[in-house]
Symmetry: none
Subunit: 204 residues, 4 copies
Amino acid sequence: MFLNKRLVKYINFAQKYNNLAKQKVDIDFIINQSIKLFRIKTYHNTSMSDIAEACGLLKGSLYHYFKSKEELMGKVIIAVHEYFKTEVFTFAFKEELNGVDRLQLLFEAAQIVFVNKKTGKMYGNMGVESAMVISDFTPLLQSFFNDFFLALKHIYQTKFEESIAEELAERSVAEIEGSIMLSRIYDNPQYIFNTFERLIDRIR
Amino acid sequence: MFLNKRLVKYINFAQKYNNLAKQKVDIDFIINQSIKLFRIKTYHNTSMSDIAEACGLLKGSLYHYFKSKEELMGKVIIAVHEYFKTEVFTFAFKEELNGVDRLQLLFEAAQIVFVNKKTGKMYGNMGVESAMVISDFTPLLQSFFNDFFLALKHIYQTKFEESIAEELAERSVAEIEGSIMLSRIYDNPQYIFNTFERLIDRIR
Amino acid sequence: MFLNKRLVKYINFAQKYNNLAKQKVDIDFIINQSIKLFRIKTYHNTSMSDIAEACGLLKGSLYHYFKSKEELMGKVIIAVHEYFKTEVFTFAFKEELNGVDRLQLLFEAAQIVFVNKKTGKMYGNMGVESAMVISDFTPLLQSFFNDFFLALKHIYQTKFEESIAEELAERSVAEIEGSIMLSRIYDNPQYIFNTFERLIDRIR
Amino acid sequence: MFLNKRLVKYINFAQKYNNLAKQKVDIDFIINQSIKLFRIKTYHNTSMSDIAEACGLLKGSLYHYFKSKEELMGKVIIAVHEYFKTEVFTFAFKEELNGVDRLQLLFEAAQIVFVNKKTGKMYGNMGVESAMVISDFTPLLQSFFNDFFLALKHIYQTKFEESIAEELAERSVAEIEGSIMLSRIYDNPQYIFNTFERLIDRIR
DNA sequence: AATGAATGAGAATTCATTCAT
DNA sequence: AATGAATGAATTCTCATTCAT
């Protein structure tokens, strides 16, 4: 190597300086950018290049964070799951509220994920459809839906006994997911809204 | 036209005979093979090569029948839709039966598509999930779900007035689709069975 | 064969009847359709399918007339050559006219091939460019240009001695071909017109 | 900026050094290899595979540099244009020389492109013919011929007034291009040589 | 951590040509 | 003569992944 050590040091310093100027790139940032892209373009139609570009990185650099696109997708699903846990399902366990209020808050929080508040239109593809298409991710989806189910069951238990609460929860999850699907197919959020209303009425 | 009818008939027959003699496959065969593959492997993970192989053809030969993979997928969705029209939705309009029976028959016919009777397990991915991921196919999916909705509405109208029948139909479609999704995610047809039972109970 | 002879006869008759209704398809017809297509779309961008379609035939049927696309192209070049011989170059040998008139008539006839009289715009690609790109056709092109050269030389010999007439002919061919090229590149027939005028002036 | 200029220089140098170390080829190398192939084999008969092989790369690697074969061809035409600007047309503007000398030098430089000095034979097909066949490239060809025309006009203006210089330039371009075509068709550079001589005589 | 050139496998598609009928 | 299904080789292009620097 013909570059002397002092120079190398300067270069490293300069690079660090440049990086500081850029958007901080960490795993979470990449995951969030990926979520955005997957929603708009689908897992299959989003290339590692696209993701890299959205992160201000180059393709190869992503492989420092994830050893494959599938691993990244897995992390994305987990991140979405985590979001739902802390921002949506959590309302189910606000013991200071009654069941109706909890359900209402939970649905309001969920809505944000699917419906663009400004335009009133459906957001693009959610991870679920993309994920369903890849069987490797079923355990992660199962885990997600377990939590979804448990949250609703917990709310229903404020009014019903366990076995009924369980049945209601299962039905509700199915109804909600089905209506999300319809909303997306018809590009009309009304199906979700109707379902949410119906479910709230039912618990009343 | 100077050819008499009997002759035309003979000619048609002769042509058919010719076709049978040379033709290795026909469009319907390709579509059916494609459906099988798409169910197992997903639209994205099924290559034209795979389809060709399943048909005993070479890749290029498929392009006699479909000018692109997307066109083939479109035809696949239409074929599934057609199947549902003639084999599933049709029970909704058997006016000689009561609503409960119609629903029961319709659900039984639908089940066959999703659940492997022999193994009792879920079949693989259906076109719907694949299709959802490609926005070009939404009109076809809308058309499918329109028919699904109308069939259920027609059944519910045997017991309820129109506006209620409509609401019930919408709910039912959502519930069914959601439960199919859950059944697939948990690889357990029980969710669909439960939903079908519940819906039949409800109309009783 | 289960079809009786009488029937076969009828069928043949019926087919013949159908054919009579169609455009008569013979080699010249195919060649003319091909010329049209090659001019618009280039040799490389015109498929045998395109040609067949333009002739009301199916791809495979073309192979009754030409054993390959290249052979067809060869025949096309020859046909164009023939056209030029009988419709364009021929004016060079109208011994009853003077040189100027012959040149004028020859150029007028040539113009028709390159410039659309109605729109005043250049026609698309001529065979020459397409042909140049395939070295197998150089003998045919040489033959074409030999005749072109001889025609002009013959005209020039009405005013000049042989060696000068030869030189002028060679120059003229080059100038004309170059200006056709420019006219095509700039999509403006003026370059050809200018050249024709200049050449007529020169002989005067 | 806290990095002093000397450092920046070093860094640039270091980066260049890095690039040299890893890079197998660069854009210019690919373009030059492509020019060679297009000349011998035509744009249509040269595959991306051929080009890759000529560059010691794999097919896919080319797409780092060009997003399509057409883009590559565009760059090739521009490169040829650039070559003509700096190596051929440039002689037109050597104000210290008289018109005859400029023309002579320009033609000598041009000859090198078309005629193999060693064998005395014509080189294969040049990009121009290939390009002519693809309408997307006409703007690039127009730009090329604009410069060609301006160079010749500039030379003619040493002896003639502008309008005459213009006419002569247009004629000369046509004559040269036409004679290149003839030289190629007859595989005999004499046509170009004759034209060049004639044009030089004319300006004398 | 980041680069980005290179890989290499595979995708969809095109098309001239063949051939049994 | 005509069909048109089938071939099969080639072509452009994509993309996840690797790796030397």
